[in-house]
């Protein structure tokens, strides 16, 4: 039997490795396996770029025709899978090299992190709406458990809030899927897309609303995102990096993938989704101004960026979509960087309140420096990559003479500058107190994964053309409803 590469590997490899966890425990290989699995998946994704550029890869694992599991690997799915594996690899490397956070280096965390990545990959790859629900639940369960994995008061509170909100969201998604099936008798997303237009208008609206509530909660859109800061505050920052970097991106993709493919004319939903994105962005940025805990501030900042990405994706033009996808990549990199820094700071300072981290730069100069770099990248200052992605989005709006989003995005950037500099000022504030003694176990090696991200932020900012072709193709794949329908339904 020859092994041939199929998209199912992105889901099967992490699942298999997770189930073999007892072996890795016995051989003391948990962390190396976690890290190398993500690196292998990332390499696998990169090796597929040339093939996917020619044509999307469709795979149907047939049970008995017409029943089968359908996977769809096109440019956008490949982009996101690569991004998720990269973020996973960075977080895994950080936890591996780290001396603290012992509970994250044990078997439960190992299994749950692999399940999280497997489920996220499944969400972007699947072409079947019920499988989508199953993957959403796989991701959900592993995320709830990861939130509570520290098992102290705050972590359990975060986990409980997450499990309640998350399962309500899943019920709404399931309700929408049930209505879709009852109306059309189809579960394949492409077949559903074809039949969707023939449904009664009220039914379309109802399904749309149910989906929007369910996915809106999961993708952290206003007004469904009240729960996010609590979860981000209570969970371990290493885990939060995965939520902000991987989970939210997967759910945003699902939301827009379904919008663009089910609606023959996405402009029906355009104004609503754009308004939702704009409100999410502005409200989150304004609330972030008043946060006195670093993790809550980062959570609101993450929501603001999610709003920006939503605003740009909902506009559904190729230029803004490519910009939004680039911004997704940047935001993942930046938030993984900032949350991992928060993890390091948390260990040194035990509390991340604004008043407690005065003069942090004297104890942890490198951490403070990297925080400044990350903050500048969020704001979108050249030569960092955040500048290019925001520029693409703004240019995409300006080219078609739509100026209100431009004004809003620039306002949001100003507010962002306000709160990031508030924290940077605290870090560099002169204090009379002597620098706190370094805790045991902080090594230069801890910073290695963070420096990789910092390097990437600069490289992508100086040389965005490295990704430009790929992003254009991904945008076309996300918006190209007809192409996808023809490819899947074989018309």
């Amino acid at each position: 039997m020859t092994l041939h590469f199929t998209p199912v590997w992105f889901i099967a490899i992490p699942l298999l490795l997770a189930f073999l966890a007892p072996l890795w425990v016995r051989w003391r290989l948990l962390m190396p396996v976690l890290f190398s699995a993500q690196v292998a998946l990332f390499a696998l994704a990169l090796s597929w770029i040339p093939a996917v550029q020619i044509a999307p890869i469709l795979e149907t694992i047939v049970i008995a025709p017409p029943l089968g599991i359908h996977l769809h690997l096109d440019a956008i799915a490949l982009l996101l899978v690569a991004l998720f594996s990269f973020a996973g690899a960075i977080v895994a490397a950080f936890i591996w090299l780290d001396n603290g956070a012992a509970h994250l280096r044990e078997r439960p965390a190992f299994i749950l992190m692999l399940l999280l990545i497997a489920g996220s990959n499944g969400m972007v790859l699947t072409g079947d709406i019920f499988n989508l629900y199953v993957f959403i639940e796989i991701v959900g369960v592993s995320a709830y458990a990861l939130a509570a994995i520290r098992r102290d008061k705050t972590a359990l509170e975060a986990g409980l809030k997450y499990v309640i909100v998350g399962s309500v969201a899943a019920i709404f998604i399931l309700f929408a899927i049930v209505l879709l099936y009852l109306q059309t008798g189809q579960l394949n997303i492409a077949a559903l897309a074809q039949a969707f237009g023939n449904m009664p208008a009220q039914m379309q609206l109802l399904i749309g609303l149910l989906m929007l509530i369910g996915l809106g909660i999961k993708a952290e859109l206003f007004p469904f995102n009240f729960w996010v800061p609590d979860i981000y505050r209570g969970s371990d920052p290493e885990i939060t990096a995965l939520y902000s970097g991987v989970l939210v991106k997967a759910f945003l993709f699902v939301l827009f993938h379904l919008t663009f493919i089910l609606l023959a004319d996405p402009s029906v939903a355009r104004n609503w989704l754009m308004a939702l994105g704009a409100i999410t962005m502005i409200v989150a940025e304004l609330v972030a101004l008043r946060q006195n805990d670093l993790r809550r501030m980062l959570a609101y900042s993450s929501l603001g960026q999610v709003g920006l990405i939503t605003l740009a994706l909902a506009f559904a033009s190729e230029a803004t979509t490519a910009g939004a996808l680039f911004h997704m990549i940047n935001h993942t990199l930046i938030k993984v960087l900032l949350f991992l820094l928060a993890a390091l700071m948390l260990r040194q300072y035990a509390s991340l309140k604004l008043t407690d981290v005065h003069g942090l730069s004297r104890t942890m100069p490198l951490a403070a420096g990297l925080f400044v770099l990350g903050a500048l990248a969020v704001l979108g200052l050249p030569p960092l990559s955040g500048f290019i992605s925001k520029l693409w989005i703004l240019k995409g709006f300006a080219d078609v003479q739509t100026f209100w989003p431009v004004a809003l995005i620039l306002t949001a950037a100003l507010i962002e500058a306000g709160y990031y500099f508030r924290w940077i000022r605290a870090f560099y504030a002169p204090t009379d107190a002597l620098p706190i003694a370094k805790i045991e176990g902080e090594k230069a090696l801890n910073y290695a994964p963070l420096l990789v991200i910092a390097g990437l932020l600069i490289v992508l900012g100086v040389a965005p053309f490295l990704l430009e072709d790929w992003l254009q193709q991904a945008a076309q794949a996300l918006l190209g409803r007809e192409v996808l329908l023809n490819a899947v339904l074989g018309r």
Binding site: F130, Y133, V134, E137, G140, V141, Y144, A145, A148, R151, D152, K153, T154, L156, E157, A158, G159, L160, K161, V163, I164, S167, V168, A170, I171, L174, F175, V178, Y181, L182, G185, L187, P229, D230, R233, G234, Q291, N292, D293, R296
Partner: protein, 128 residues
């Protein structure tokens, strides 16, 4: 009298009854979710909402008179069978629902052991 009973046996009428019943159940769950503060009551409400969705799927997808889609006892062709997909979906969804509820309740128990609290209103550890 018999006509009235036959009227009730028509698929359209039956389906509407099922649908109304399930929706009532769904809103009972939603009410519980929004009005109750006890952790276990919230999980019960979530389960009720989930159950209502399963009921809608199963009830609307099957019509009275259809048989199980299993070939046995002399049945050699699929005639008058009910659609098996909704049942497979519901079974899957039930399994997932059980797993989520088990996770949630076990976290609630641990939380109660640590803090002695049972109400979401008292969960203030994460606020500033």
């Amino acid at each position: 009298m018999l006509e009235v009973l036959e009227l009730f046996d028509r698929p359209a009428v039956l389906h509407s009854i099922y649908l109304i019943g399930s929706l009532i159940l769904f809103f009972i769950g939603l009410y519980g979710l929004l009005a109750k503060r006890h952790l276990l009551k919230i999980f019960v409400s979530i389960e009720i909402m989930e159950l209502a969705v399963y009921l809608i799927l199963i009830a609307i997808a099957t019509t009275p008179g259809e048989t199980a889609p299993i070939l046995s006892d002399g049945l050699i062709a699929f005639t008058g069978m009910s659609d098996p997909i909704p049942q497979a979906l519901t079974l899957t969804a039930i399994v997932i629902g059980v797993a989520v509820t088990a996770l949630g309740t076990s976290m609630a128990i641990q939380y109660h052991r640590l803090t002695g609290k049972v109400s979401v209103a008292e969960m203030t550890e994460l606020k500033d």
